[in-house]
């Protein structure tokens, strides 16, 4: 068995500054060895540990889709030691990736169902992966209507702007982009918080699943909206964050009751969470 703590060596191919505050950067990484790319076989919703020798590791959701070949992609918010160091690295630098880790959104169970994706702020990373994956011709037929509500503080804080615009133009996905506030006359989409826009657009809960990722405050106010729309807790899915080290359920720090978020999560249904201690 492979040593589960040993990262695959990767090279930074490209770094894209996503947001106007320059706190979010997307890293496109390529594996130094092609067999490692094959071994790193992932499913949307999973995460990986990004490893920088001398700095440490950080768990980051995989933002690329398995249908995109030749690279993997992560969007990193600059908060502390490792993420700040990462932000100062350059294309061509060598680092490591360990994973894929954790569980994923329930793609098998959601087959034949409508999928409502609700995202806020920079928690849109694995949601991007999911959208790209579902829109791929190989998978689009497996799912019904795809509805997306995605919001950020202002237009400059949205991730993946070019793709958002491209998805807007498609007719096989319904996009509801929103910002908390803006004085930008170019902004032609919604203005308002994600829960309010979700309520206004009222995506049907019939035969549908909702995947909700965002800051805790957004989740807190979106859940009652979804309940009113008729989504039962078993069909509301979210992805959680905890401080992590090992990422494989061994170092003991990321548990919520019996569940290790790194291994038994990060994806949970609200039904499952309701049976766990409220400590996250």
């Amino acid at each position: 068995m492979k040593n589960p703590y040993l990262p695959y060596p990767v090279r930074i191919q490209e770094i894209i500054t996503e947001t106007e505050d320059r706190n979010l950067k997307t890293f496109k990484l390529v594996f130094l060895k092609s067999e490692d790319e094959a071994a790193f076989s992932y499913i949307p919703g999973q995460f990986a540990e990004l490893s920088v020798a001398g700095q440490g590791e950080v768990p980051i959701g995989i933002a690329s889709s398995p249908t995109e070949k030749g690279f993997i992609m992560f969007t990193v918010n600059r908060v502390g030691k490792v993420t700040t160091y990462l932000h100062n690295m350059k294309p061509g630098d060598v680092m490591g990736v360990r994973g894929p880790l954790g569980n994923w959104y329930p793609w098998e169970e959601m087959k034949g169902k409508n999928v409502v994706i609700i995202g806020g702020g920079f928690a849109f990373t694995t949601l991007r992966s999911s959208i790209v994956w579902m829109l791929d011709p190989a998978h689009r037929g497996d799912y019904g209507d795809i509805t997306v509500v995605y919001g950020a503080r202002n237009p400059g804080m949205l991730l993946y702007k070019e793709e958002l615009v491209a998805w807007e133009r498609r007719d096989d996905i319904t996009m509801h982009l929103t910002v908390d506030a803006t004085d930008d006359p170019q902004w032609k989409y919604n203005v308002g918080f994600v829960p309010a826009i979700t309520k206004e657009k009222a995506p049907s809960s019939e035969n549908a699943y909702a995947i909700v990722c965002g800051p805790p405050i957004m989740i807190k106010f979106t859940l009652p909206v979804l309940a009113d729309l008729g989504f039962p807790p078993e069909r509301i899915i979210t992805s959680l964050e905890m401080r992590m080290k090992c990422g494989i359920g061994m170092c003991g720090r990321c548990n919520i009751g019996t569940e290790y978020v790194c291994k038994d999560g990060p994806v949970f249904t609200m039904e499952k969470l309701s049976r766990l201690p409220n400590e996250y």
Partner: protein, 350 residues
Amino acid sequence: MLKIFVTKDNLPNLVGRLMDGATVLGPVKEGEAHRFRPLKKAADLDLSYQNSRLSPKDLVHPHSDAMFAFSLKKDDPEAGILKELPRSADKRLVLGIRPCDAKAFRLVDVNFLTDTYRDPWWEARREATVLVGLGCSRPCRSCFCTAVGTGPFDETALDVLMTELEDGYLLKAVTEKGEALLRDAPQAEAATDERMQKAEGIAEEAARKISKPFVTEPIKDKPQTELFSAEFWEEVQFACINCGTCTYLCPTCWCFDIQDEVHGEEGVRLRLWDSCMFPLFTLHGSGHNPRNQKLQRVRQRFMHKFKYYVDKYGDGPACVGCGRCVQYCPVNIDIRRVVAMMSASCVCPT
């Protein structure tokens, strides 16, 4: 399985023989306490000990352990790439370990050796280690092993069980590894019926001396959310100073941290013991901390051992009743009392 008897006078010869084939670790007196150390000579071994202050968990899960090495040299084409270090699997024999401490290794196996991932350091050291245990004929007042599914002469996690008789030791092989050890023991005498009967008597007498301050069964039936919101945590946590002594000494506390350490242009990725008693253990980069309060951390320790572990693995509890946390907690928080509250099965005299 093979049983032999070795007189006290002849024991050093047996220890000497064992030292030829493996590194032998045993209880050695250091200052006022005993600690498991590699024996330099047979006479270092002190089997008259009651138990070691630090649990022997560090023999398999060291306090600090290098995982990988890396270079940061500008001209090194491999700079920044983590390299595996040789994992030495030197044969080791732990002599005189208490049955409870050996059982702790079993309980922690469940965490490190899973169907999806296997921890290579834990696995290599576990496989290379033979456990020759010494039954407890004189248990401490703080022992409660029989309440948590083990006991002073529990052989289940051992390769050989030793029982001290007046004039020597009865050694009983429990596994094939243990049998191989005893087969060519020097100056072995027969484990006569009389000796075996004596050993049984000693084991029964010891078990009788150990208190059973709680029953764990009722805890299984309570939902984790109910125990989690119980009011008694407020009282339990009150005196705790979050020093981490309990988790440091505990043979089943395995939590660890991972840190990079750089010297000049070379570095290592280390793993180091950590503790759920420290706020940093769960602090997010954003500043949010799900276990910010002392109550939350104290509760996590007891809930993990007696509820989460049991529910998750259908085994346990993750406690062997060694009583170290009872003996060394500076504010006398007594796990026996806490578990009794969790199971609401009895209230111990305080």
